[in-house]
Symmetry: C2
Subunit: 354 residues, 2 copies
Amino acid sequence: MTRQIQVGNVAIGGGAPIVVQSMTNTNTADVEATTRQIQRLEEAGCEIVRLAVPDQKAAAVLPEIRKRASVPLVADIHFDHRLALAAINAGVDKLRLNPGNITDPKKIAAVANAAKGAGIPIRVGANSGSLAENYLREGRATAEGMVQSALDEIRLLEDEGFDQIVVSLKGTDVRMTIEANRRMAEEVDYPLHIGITEAGTPWEGAIRSAVGIGTLLEQGLGDTIRVSLAGDPVEEVRVAYEILRALGLRDRGIGLHVCPTCGRTGVDLVSVADQVRRELADVIEPLKVVLMGCVVNGLGEVKEADVGLVGSREQGTIYVDGEPILVSVPEDQLAEEIVRAARGYLRKRRRTDD
Amino acid sequence: MTRQIQVGNVAIGGGAPIVVQSMTNTNTADVEATTRQIQRLEEAGCEIVRLAVPDQKAAAVLPEIRKRASVPLVADIHFDHRLALAAINAGVDKLRLNPGNITDPKKIAAVANAAKGAGIPIRVGANSGSLAENYLREGRATAEGMVQSALDEIRLLEDEGFDQIVVSLKGTDVRMTIEANRRMAEEVDYPLHIGITEAGTPWEGAIRSAVGIGTLLEQGLGDTIRVSLAGDPVEEVRVAYEILRALGLRDRGIGLHVCPTCGRTGVDLVSVADQVRRELADVIEPLKVVLMGCVVNGLGEVKEADVGLVGSREQGTIYVDGEPILVSVPEDQLAEEIVRAARGYLRKRRRTDD
């Protein structure tokens, strides 16, 4: 069990639910674009948002972004500790320092003391691609090197009496990342922020992240996760929740179960599934939707669903709460009617919960 | 270490490379469609193909399908052991029996003896959705129930002196599936076929499969994998290889590494990546393609790639084997030129390997 760290109003570690993070990929200095992306991330369920602060121009707009956003914000700092001090003054809720490029003990002490004064935590975030030379072996990153680089930075923070620390060790290599996190968990009880760096586009990036993050979470390691994907960061949040749902750790929004389809399948289930998922993307409450191609396993499976479909020849029967509510719906209206049924079911469930 | 089982010319377990399987979703009796899909699966790297044999009509065409296909074929049998006997006569390379619906010891003995005569193995494949009543707890499947159901069937086969066995325990629940496989690995040394059943469409199905299969493989469990997705089974094979590549277990075809993109990124990397992946889908040899949005980490990363891109404002430089070969390529020609460079590189590498 890790200790618990507070980031704004969000708790990380110590038994709190696994927190979902992401990072903007706008030019941070573009306040409108950045604020809009933060808003979209928050709507998708992102609970902590990180922003790159590569220069004073970005640091200068942080107070305005902080004012407009409601989710806790993390300033991502590399190389220049003065940007960390500026971000603290701007009211961010957490810092991320890279031990690979901020190594001067005096500068780290200055940041630790400012963060302590502001009451915000620091993530010590080591990355296989940016380890300092002395932590490499034959020019290459290793799990041990990542652990040592982060531990040395942690000790410098602790020397200043600073213990509001989160640790991350991210590599492009899944096995190295898993190994590094296992070792770190034996060394410290700070919460672990886990992820695979530069994982790729949403296609291979989701798979690599699911393997790496999933393996660690299944073994009880990891208190907050970020899925790193090229492209729209909202997709990172969607993949993150799907990983958490797969392990029964969090449930949010639509959870789709679709039969594998076979020669018996009477309707194009994948198209129906994709449309339903897209149109219900705004749903926050857990909603189990089961789409089955035929009656063989269908009748049993839809009983366990909030909303279900059992297909037959170019049509289907729609179920809500285990009961058929619409029969012989033509294939081209299935997605639409499932969405309508789901919205109706959610309205009713909300009223019942009141 | 599991014992090794031979399926046609493919070895499963005992230190052999993890084998990638998939299953046709055509009507098996439609020989043309089924043969065409088997061919597509094989081209995608599928090493063993399973076919549903739901009735005598499907069993009757197996000899013709067996004649036309070159990959080992598995007959998937439920309920009726006579279909298993017919499939053995048809020359299939392996059977899959479901212990949830073929339970009569006499019938299992008949199948075991016929399989022994034909020299083919049997997969005992338990599924959380089709366990016999007596293995359920309060009407629900458990990890223990899956293990017991499979073990009882295994013992019946062993009673006939049959030991060419592969075991699978698949659930829709990822944790239950992991738990069941862990327990089974303590009970027997037969190879494990692993997968998550009814995982969903390629979107959530890939993520759930990566979490479940990835977690087991990372811990050394699993000798052959099937990713179950709704839709085209070729996508199952692609996802399977991506899971294996993430863990460094297999490498096949294009492996893409794409930087996460940020405000600095000068070109639409995700579009380039998607186009390159699509156009190089036929490549079988391992090919590492690295696409970076700018020079910051780009110059270092492309050095490790077979083919690389470093983007800048609406153009980019293409690298082969770490060396720049084309500069100032306009954005709309990047994908095309990367594909051309990759094909040239592969031709050259093949010649060098000769």
